[in-house]
Symmetry: C2
Subunit: 447 residues, 2 copies
């Protein structure tokens, strides 16, 4: 399918004429071209297509490719051409690209840029990774208060080319302080001589340069914004973040949260593009932590050596009970951690969530106890089946409550509960499961 | 903090005058009002604010509230008012709202709508849940081919009020077949007498009414679209889906994937709003499945009763080894499942991913074997420490490879690998871990 989509480009490449490659490329938009180039980066066709695109399009295509591909595509580009290319990029892409380069090349490139571009770039570079400042673009449309709708439209018409969006414009006072936002929709619909000040949207939503990118994405999603204005600490407009960047953040955040749930940490990219070493690094940390956590479970078993030796049949149910405690813990922890991430759960909810989990986990435990007792009576003696059934209720309840309380406690202590990873909670529930099981067994089956 | 934001509204409510409530509400945008109403739905203040909003704003606010709140807010609304309210809603919100109502009320409401609204509604209702058709809006701006940029802007100016977006307009031929998309940006910048046909964007991206909503969201993200045109099977424009709906889909999909990773299935809402019963239902299914899966682990242990009885110390390391197999499996499964969900991994990648995992899992296994051997020699005899270390390499490798292959196999068989849930893969890795451990122990420590 994919090869069919790109057939015109493949044919043009076969003809080996730069002119026909450029013409064929003209049929595609930047995102598609980026995909083709990405797929063919290793066989030179990707680079060849890229080199034969007009400069503006090349700048756009770069914004859609991965960091690795960006470096590959530009490593041989002469400095003079590279400076024009970076000048053509939207200011947010430009910062990301600049950050990829080696320091010596950064310095050379910086010297080639004109004063204004250089100032913008160094200002944007000053913001910490993961903040609104590092994500924002400075290519926004801005009006001073007091002009009319038709004057505003005229300004947009003339400056549209260099703007990230012209659908939202920002109105500032003489000090650069943001007064409000006016949409092109309102400008178009309004009578031409209406003052823009009377067209401002109600309930201005904005963020700060040091707001986290997750919070920015959440604001854009919550208010269905096309773009969010970013203010410095004097309330002056410093930049904007558009919805498409927010979508990328939401997707990246979701990937990070899903990875962490599977005890994979700090992996920016997917499994196909990550190197074996970065995969190793992102996985070994939690595996080793969990080794030490599980040693406690082993110690727990050692403590109950006598009762196990006397009733070896208890062992057959151990994986089941330990896994059930862990699974119940993983379930409630997953729900709470996701709730915290989306802003659905806040710390003061804890009593309500605890009580709810008490009801849900008891019901879950009873159902599972019944299931396991029914299986148990056919496979072992009644006393053991009963021990297992009673334990099941206890461990599901314990696991479920640990899963609720631990993430909330971590959040209270200022630790990101997703980073603390659900596998650790599962392991703690596991250990508790072992202790509860053999304690109950000791009581029922005697010392 | 939140109460401070809404202070003007709280003060107005205290004054008990509908007029001042309406004025205070006027300071907020629809998303904020929805939040306030949602927070105060139980103490009547929410309903009171809602009732005192102008009808257009009420329609907008409804679109930002949860289904439960929508029903609560409108249950007492007389039919005549309800029909005006639904007519004011964007067509996509209208369908969702309509689907919430009881069948008798649906029928009554349908009779109250005028012919055109009724036709649009019934057409949209015909599309299956989760498809583009069920998500799309019919309030798009459309031009017939052959008009000029200034004529197009005039049309937009007059019809803007009823459109979901005027920033992307759709150009169709005499049969309603979509020819292309033109942005308001291009219309504004172009000379007034330019034909819109020459302003169309290159590389038209569209989807079908039966395309899944995940694929729609992926297209919108990939191409940074403001809106995606949706075609029927005669290539006629049937509706559009805007970026804000795509953001909601991405977030909902991420929540679903994260829940499934924690073995919670089919929970549409978060832990704070879900009822204990729906939480029970979403969790019991996997817990019971995992009970049966874990019985195999128990049976595996039973099979090795003799070697365990002879060397009880083996037991202390069992939780550790089983958990390591499961964790390694969960890690690689998480990476593959997420890769499949984002389109990063396709089936033909399997050999490449298998080989990569072979390298990574061997490295992980060696590191962990070294760790556990070091711990082991201080706590038990050398033969057992060595058995444990060798087993560690084998189980991490087995777990890692199962985690890679099983999701790909499920995907190949047409089963959504996220739905098959990572906990099951973890459990399969657990069972393998037990078998491998005691088999190796039998070989090294004798029968």
């Amino acid at each position: 399918m994919e090869s069919l989509l790109f057939q015109p480009l493949v044919d043009a490449l076969a003809s080996d004429q730069p002119q026909s490659v450029a013409e064929a490329a003209n049929l595609f938009n930047a995102a598609d071209l980026a995909e083709f180039i990405e797929q063919n980066i290793e066989n030179e066709a990707g680079r060849y297509v890229f080199q034969n695109l007009p400069l503006t399009l090349r700048a756009k295509v770069l914004g859609y490719t991965t960091p690795d591909t960006q470096l590959l595509l530009t490593e041989a580009t002469p400095l003079a051409e590279l400076s024009i290319l970076t000048a053509e990029m939207p200011s947010d892409d430009r910062v990301d690209f600049f950050n990829l380069l080696e320091e010596s090349r950064q310095k050379q490139l910086l010297r080639k840029l004109d004063q204004e571009d250089r100032d913008v770039l160094t200002a944007l570079l000053a913001h910490a990774e993961g903040t609104a400042g590092s994500l924002m673009s400075t290519d926004y449309a801005v009006f001073e208060s007091g002009i009319t709708a038709s004057e505003a439209i005229d300004i947009l018409r003339k400056t549209a080319e260099n703007k990230e969006t012209i659908y939202q414009s920002y109105v500032i006072d003489g000090h650069g302080v943001l007064i409000g936002v006016v949409s092109l929709r309102r400008l178009i619909v309004a009578k031409p001589d209406t003052l823009i000040d009377s067209l401002l949207a109600t309930g201005l939503v904005s963020a700060r340069t040091d707001t986290s990118q997750d919070d920015v994405a959440r604001l854009i999603t919550k208010y269905d914004l096309l773009a969010l204005p970013i203010l410095d600490h004097h309330d002056r407009l410093a930049g904007i973040i558009t919805y498409d960047d927010a979508m990328d953040v939401i997707e990246a955040e979701a990937t990070e949260d899903i990875h962490k749930g599977g005890s994979v940490s700090n992996l920016d990219t997917g499994i196909t593009t990550a190197s074996p070493f970065s995969l190793y690094r992102s996985r070994i940390q939690w595996l080793v932590i969990l080794v030490f956590a599980n040693i406690f479970t082993g110690a727990g078993i050692a403590h109950f050596e006598d009762i196990i030796g006397a009733h070896l049949a208890l062992l057959f149910f151990m994986p089941l009970l330990v896994a059930s405690a862990g699974n119940a813990g993983a379930q409630s922890a997953t729900l709470v951690v996701r709730g915290i991430a989306t802003g659905d759960v806040v710390n003061r909810d804890w009593i309500r969530l605890f009580n709810k989990e008490l009801i849900v986990a008891t019901a879950l435990g009873l159902t599972m106890a019944l299931t396991v007792w029914t299986v148990g009576v056919f496979r072992t003696e009644l006393a053991i089946a009963t021990t297992v059934a009673i334990t099941m209720i206890a461990v599901v309840l314990a696991g479920g409550l640990i899963g609720i309380l631990l993430p909330l406690l971590l959040n209270r202590l200022g630790v990101d509960p997703a980073a603390a990873s659900i596998p650790l909670i599962t392991t703690i529930a596991d250990v508790s499961g072992v202790m509860i099981y053999f304690s109950i067994a000791t009581i029922i089956l005697g010392p």
